[in-house]
C-alpha cells in the first residue's frame, strides 16, 4: 500500500484556503479537509457532493480557475487553484434557492405550473430565466486561436478504455508489428483496478507498463467522445488533453467498462452516499476514509472486498446486502446520518457517516451505440450491454467489445475477457494478410 496522504499545497475554496495534495482531484482535497457540500442540484437545489468520483455522474460541477461546470473529481489540485461553488444564491454556503425543495415536496410539474394567468406566467418566465442554466460564463475568453492543430492517429487497432479489459486486450493483441493505440479518459490508465483493494494503482501501473513495453501507444487523459460515421469514412474523435485527435483504425475495441449507478430509495442523493467504487478509490488510491462508520450496500464480491478493506483500515463497517434487506430512506440533510433499512424483521435504522452503494455498474455502451453496435438490456448485465460473439465481435464488422461493457464481470472477469478478445482481434488481422 502507498504512503499516507500528506497535504503539500493549498487550494482556495470561495476565498478560503484548503489544504490539498498537488495532483489529486480537487474534489478529494475538499472532502479530506472536511468540506461536505460541493454543489446544489439544478432544479430543487438539493445539496450534493461527489458520487462516482470518475467523471460520469455530474454531481461535482464547480467553477474551477474561473471556468464554469468543471468536474471537480477530474480537476487536479495545485497551489492557489481557485474553486467556487456555483448555482447557489446568495452564496454556496447559504443557498436560499433550496427552498424550492421544501416548497415542492411532491415534485413540480413544469408543464402546467404557472401557465395561467398570463401575467403570472410572464413573471415566472423572467424568474426561470434568471435561475435556469448552470454556472456563469468564464472569467476570461480563450486566447485567440493562433496556430490551429489537430492530430491524426492511424493504427491497426484502436482500443477505448484502459481498465483491466482494455489493457489485457492490448497486451494480448500486441506483437508482430501491429500498431495499437489505447485511449483512457482517466489521468492514468487502470480503470477499475485503481479502486479495488486487491489491486490498486500499482497493479494498474504495472499492467499499463507491460502494455507500453509491448509497443502499445497509451494515451492517458484522452477521452473518446464521439463516433462520426459521415466524416472521412468514419472516425473516432478523442479529446486528448485538449487536442482533438481523429482516430482511424482497422479494428476498434470498446473496453469502456461501466458507469456507477445509485440505488433507489428516498433521499438517495444525500451527500455522503457514494458509489462503492468512489469509496474504494478514496481508500486505495487517495488514502482517504469515506467515513468512520461507513455502510456498504450490496451483495457483490466487490462490496465484500471493500467492506473488508474498510474494516482493516479501522472503520466500523455495517453491511446491508440489498437483497434480504434493502434501503428505503436516508436520514440527514447536508450529510447522510443514517439509513432506514427494511428486512424480514421490519424496519430498522442504521447510523452511518457514509454509504457505499455497490449496485451493478451500467455498461458504458454509449460510444459503441454511436458506432452502431447492437446492445441488449438485462438487469443481470447492469443495463444495455454490447452483444458480442465468443470472439468479442459486435454486430458491426471490425468492431469488438470486451469487459464490463458486455455485461458486468468485475476485475478478474474483465481481464480474462479482454485477453481472449485481444487474441481474437489479432487473429482477425492475420486472416486479412
Amino acid at each position: 500500500m502507498s504512503a499516507p496522504r500528506r497535504p503539500d499545497c493549498a487550494v482556495e475554496l470561495d476565498g478560503e484556503a484548503v489544504p490539498a495534495v498537488a495532483g489529486e482531484p480537487v474534489a478529494v482535497s475538499l472532502f479530506a479537509a472536511g468540506v461536505r457540500v460541493l454543489s446544489h442540484s439544478a432544479k430543487y437545489h438539493r445539496p450534493r457532493s461527489f458520487f462516482c468520483l470518475s467523471g460520469h455522474c455530474g454531481a461535482c460541477l464547480m467553477r474551477v480557475d474561473g471556468e464554469p461546470n468543471v468536474r471537480a473529481c477530474r480537476a487536479p489540485a495545485r497551489e492557489g487553484l481557485k474553486v467556487e461553488r456555483q448555482n447557489a444564491f446568495p452564496s454556496g454556503k447559504l443557498d436560499l434557492l433550496a427552498a424550492t425543495d421544501w416548497l415542492f415536496p411532491r415534485g413540480m410539474d413544469h408543464h402546467t405550473m404557472f401557465t395561467h394567468p398570463r401575467p403570472v406566467n410572464a413573471l415566472m418566465q423572467k424568474v426561470v430565466h434568471q435561475l435556469g442554466g448552470l454556472g456563469r460564463l468564464p472569467d476570461r475568453s480563450d486566447p485567440p486561436l493562433g496556430e490551429v492543430h489537430g492530430e491524426r492517429v492511424s493504427v491497426d487497432v484502436a482500443i477505448v478504455g484502459g481498465g483491466p479489459a482494455g489493457l489485457s486486450a492490448a497486451l494480448a493483441c500486441a506483437g508482430e508489428g501491429r500498431r495499437i493505440a489505447l485511449f483512457d479518459e482517466g489521468d492514468r490508465a487502470g480503470g477499475s483496478l485503481l479502486c479495488h483493494p486487491a489491486h490498486g494503482p500499482d497493479a494498474g501501473r504495472a499492467l499499463a507498463d507491460r502494455a507500453a513495453e509491448a509497443g502499445v501507444a497509451i494515451h492517458e487523459g484522452a477521452s473518446a467522445f464521439a463516433w462520426y460515421p459521415e466524416d472521412e469514412g468514419g472516425l473516432l474523435a478523442v479529446d486528448d488533453r485538449g487536442t482533438l485527435t481523429r482516430v482511424f483504425a482497422r479494428r476498434f475495441v470498446y473496453a469502456t467498462g461501466g458507469f456507477d449507478v445509485n440505488a433507489l430509495f428516498a433521499d438517495n442523493d444525500r451527500p455522503g452516499i457514494f458509489a462503492a467504487r468512489a469509496v474504494g478509490a478514496l481508500l486505495v488510491r487517495h488514502r482517504v476514509l469515506a467515513g468512520q462508520r461507513p455502510l456498504v450496500l450490496g451483495d457483490s464480491p466487490y462490496a465484500a472486498a471493500l467492506a473488508d478493506a474498510l474494516g482493516a483500515a479501522g472503520c466500523e463497517v455495517t453491511r446491508v446486502d440489498g437483497v434480504s434487506e434493502r434501503a428505503v430512506a436516508a436520514r440527514g440533510h447536508a450529510w447522510v446520518s443514517a439509513l432506514e433499512i427494511e428486512g424480514p424483521a421490519g424496519l430498522r435504522r442504521v447510523k452511518c457517516d457514509a454509504v457505499a452503494v455497490a449496485t451493478t455498474p451500467a455498461p458504458a455502451s454509449d460510444l459503441p451505440r454511436q458506432h452502431g453496435v447492437r446492445v441488449a438490456l438485462s438487469e443481470a448485465a447492469g443495463g444495455f450491454a454490447c452483444v458480442v460473439d465468443e470472439r468479442g465481435a459486435t454486430s458491426v464488422p471490425g468492431v469488438f467489445a470486451c469487459g464490463d461493457v458486455c455485461g458486468y464481470r468485475g476485475v478478474d472477469g474483465a481481464r480474462a475477457h479482454g485477453e481472449a478478445v485481444g487474441r481474437a482481434v489479432a487473429a482477425s488481422l492475420d486472416e486479412e494478410r
Binding site: 438539493r46 467523471g55 489537430g150 433507489l264 428516498a266 436516508a330 451505440r369 454511436q370
Partner: protein
C-alpha cells in the same frame, strides 16, 4: 413525509415523476425523456437511463429484453469548444450528427 427518490441526479427527476409520466400514457423511453427531462443533464443519462428503462419494463409488463436505450449523440463527455475550434488545420470540423442508437 417521504423524501424524493432521485432517479436522474442531474435534472432532479424522481420516481414519482416517472410514474406520473407513465400514468399520462408515455411509455417509450424517448417520450419519458422528453416529458420529464431525465437524461438531459450533464451526464446525459449515464446513471439514470437504465433505471428508467427497467422502470418502464416493470410498468408496462414488457420483458426488459425489449427495452431500448435512448439515442446516444456526440459528445458523450464534455468537450471544450476551443478543442474543436483549434482543429481547423484538418479541414472541416466533425459536423456529423452521429448515427445514434
Amino acid at each position: 413525509m417521504a423524501g424524493k427518490v432521485i432517479v436522474c441526479r442531474c435534472e432532479d427527476v424522481t420516481l414519482d415523476d416517472l410514474a406520473h409520466a407513465t400514468s399520462l400514457g408515455y411509455a417509450h423511453i424517448e417520450e419519458v425523456k422528453r416529458y420529464t427531462g431525465l437524461g438531459t443533464g450533464p451526464c446525459q443519462g449515464k446513471e439514470c437511463m437504465v433505471a428508467c428503462a427497467l422502470f418502464l419494463a416493470r410498468t408496462t409488463g414488457q420483458p426488459p429484453s425489449e427495452g431500448e436505450p435512448f439515442t446516444s449523440r456526440p459528445p458523450i463527455a464534455p468537450v471544450a469548444l476551443g478543442t474543436l475550434a483549434r482543429d481547423g488545420g484538418e479541414g472541416a470540423l466533425p459536423t456529423g450528427r452521429g448515427r445514434g442508437r
